[in-house]
Amino acid sequence: MGAKSSQRIRPVENYDSAHFWQGLRDGKLLIQECGACGLRRHPPQPMCEQCQSLDWTTVESSGRGTIYSYTVIHYPEIPPFEYPNAIVLVDLDEGVRLASQLRGADPDDIAIGQRVIAKLVDVQDDLTLPVFEIAP
């Protein structure tokens, strides 16, 4: 079954991905960058698919990007989320795509191509996520 009714499912944090989740708790949205060829990638994975290097570092994202696609979820209503729940795929300015929630926008006003900015939000104890808002 899914999460306890009042809690979000926590992500797996392993050797490949712990930097991403710890980075969020530390107030940074970190993107993996290949230490050999420089290709940026998200979600995290251990090997560069372009040059097969296992060396990688991170770059800190500005959180700014452009909506590539989106959905507004109405059903089923899964605790503890509030509905409608808008989810955006954002092309970050650093060159990778990231999925997360969009807050504070009227669902009818969301559009592909809109500029957004991520705020790092402590959504529950020990879980920080990037949550997008329409850029001012």
């Binding site: 499912i9 979600p43 959905t71 059903y75 089923p76 795929l89 999925a99 996520l129």
Partner: protein
């Protein structure tokens, strides 16, 4: 002229349980019932089954089904990953195993209580173990409440609308067409219950742009097949359906139902990559295909499939649907059983069964003179596709 070789894979038996919302029995019993029916249909005793194949998210062991249908020794067994995207994996495996002489009779099954048991649409994950690759993968979505197949495929559908100008009404016409086929199929859950485009437009929003009637059902039931060599099939008193071409496809952009990172997510590029190969292997062209079952977990997914397999040009599928070409009496009737939207959601296998009936000439919504058919597995996942042909065609 038949291109059939002696060891080419031929589907000689199909079986199914009823499709319901609460089967009242275990998934294993469902799988056994459908498997026994498929063997009876083929006229092959269970003792001859020496290969078994299913795909991931089926909760029944191959050996348990094999034992209960009376099997003696299993020489070949396989299970393909990626859920509905794997619906043709067992046929691909059977095709290869039979051609290589690894076995003689392959039983394929999928049995599930997907409505009365664990509902895929409910936002649950089957395995929360931190070592499970699903759990690792979905870690980037579930914490945001991005948890359902409808919401994931909504992302690709939204992008298709943006790229090609398709509308919710275009999706609705697909639903109307499939519910029309279902309305005359007594095996369909939505038998005698067609809908109008207004019904579709008034159905509740699930994950914008997907409305309720854009979504496949959640169903209990099982479907099974018996596949053997052409040489063996000729000795049976059945209308065999040969697997003229089958393959699977995954690309670097492929993900587990969340294909968000490719250059163009409006399309399902696996289908674009497979189509040419399949036609070449079968020695056929799009014009030769008489009927199709295209994977319809959600209506928008039909559109890029029609384009990928050459029934219309890229970006023109919505017009193709609007002109009635995939509907009853159309150029290429799609999902004549009602699809997973109208008949039942058995993870793609009920579509394969409908194609077998079409090529046997026994569908309740029969396309006259159907010789060749296309069937696809799940969209938005690593997937597969096949061209099936009448034995003599």
């Amino acid at each position: 002229m038949s291109r059939t070789t002696d060891r080419q894979a031929v589907i000689v038996g199909i079986g199914a349980t009823e499709f319901s919302k609460d089967s009242g029995r275990t998934e294993l019993r469902l799988a056994c019932e459908a498997s026994r029916s498929a063997l009876e249909d083929a006229g092959i005793p269970g003792a001859e089954v020496d290969g078994v194949s299913t795909f991931s998210m089926d909760n029944n062991f191959e050996i348990d089904v094999h034992r209960q249908v009376g099997g003696h020794e299993l020489r070949f067994f396989s299970r393909t990953e990626y859920g509905g995207g794997a619906a043709l994996g067992p046929f691909h495996h059977a095709y290869c195993a039979l051609a290589a002489g690894q076995c003689q009779t392959v039983l394929i099954y999928r049995g599930m209580n997907e409505r009365s048991g664990l509902r895929f649409g409910g936002g649950q994950i089957m395995n929360m173990n931190a070592l499970n690759p699903d759990m690792i993968h979905f870690s980037h979505y579930f914490p945001s409440g991005f948890m359902t197949p409808a919401s994931w495929i909504a992302m690709t559908a939204r992008r298709y609308m943006h790229e090609y100008g398709a509308t919710s009404e275009d999706f609705g016409r697909i639903a109307v067409s499939m519910r029309d086929f279902a309305s005359t199929n007594p095996a369909a859950f939505y038998y005698e219950r067609p809908i109008t485009l207004d019904d579709h437009q008034n159905s509740r929003m699930i994950a914008d742009p997907l409305r309720l009637f854009d979504c496949c059902q959640e169903s209990d039931g099982a479907v099974a097949f018996v596949v053997t060599t052409a040489e063996r099939a000729r000795d049976l008193d059945v209308d065999g359906v040969r697997i003229a071409a089958v393959r699977q496809c995954a690309l670097p952009s492929s993900r587990q139902v969340t294909p968000f990172y490719g250059d163009d997510i409006a399309r399902f590029p696996e289908f674009d990559a497979m189509a040419g190969d399949l036609y070449e292997t079968a020695g056929l062209q799009p014009d030769d295909i008489d009927v199709a079952c295209l994977y319809d977990h959600f209506t928008p997914s039909i559109l890029p499939q029609l384009e990928a397999f050459g029934f219309c040009k890229t970006g023109e599928a919505a017009d193709f649907v609007r002109d009635g070409h995939i509907s009853r009496g159309g150029r290429i009737p799609v999902n004549t059983n009602g699809g997973q939207i109208g008949e039942a959601y058995i993870h793609g296998l009920n579509g394969v069964a409908e194609i077998v009936r079409q090529l046997r000439g026994t569908s309740v919504n029969q396309v006259a003179g159907a010789d060749h058919a296309l069937v696809t597995a799940g969209a938005g996942v690593p997937t597969g596709a096949a061209i099936l042909s009448r034995m003599e065609a």
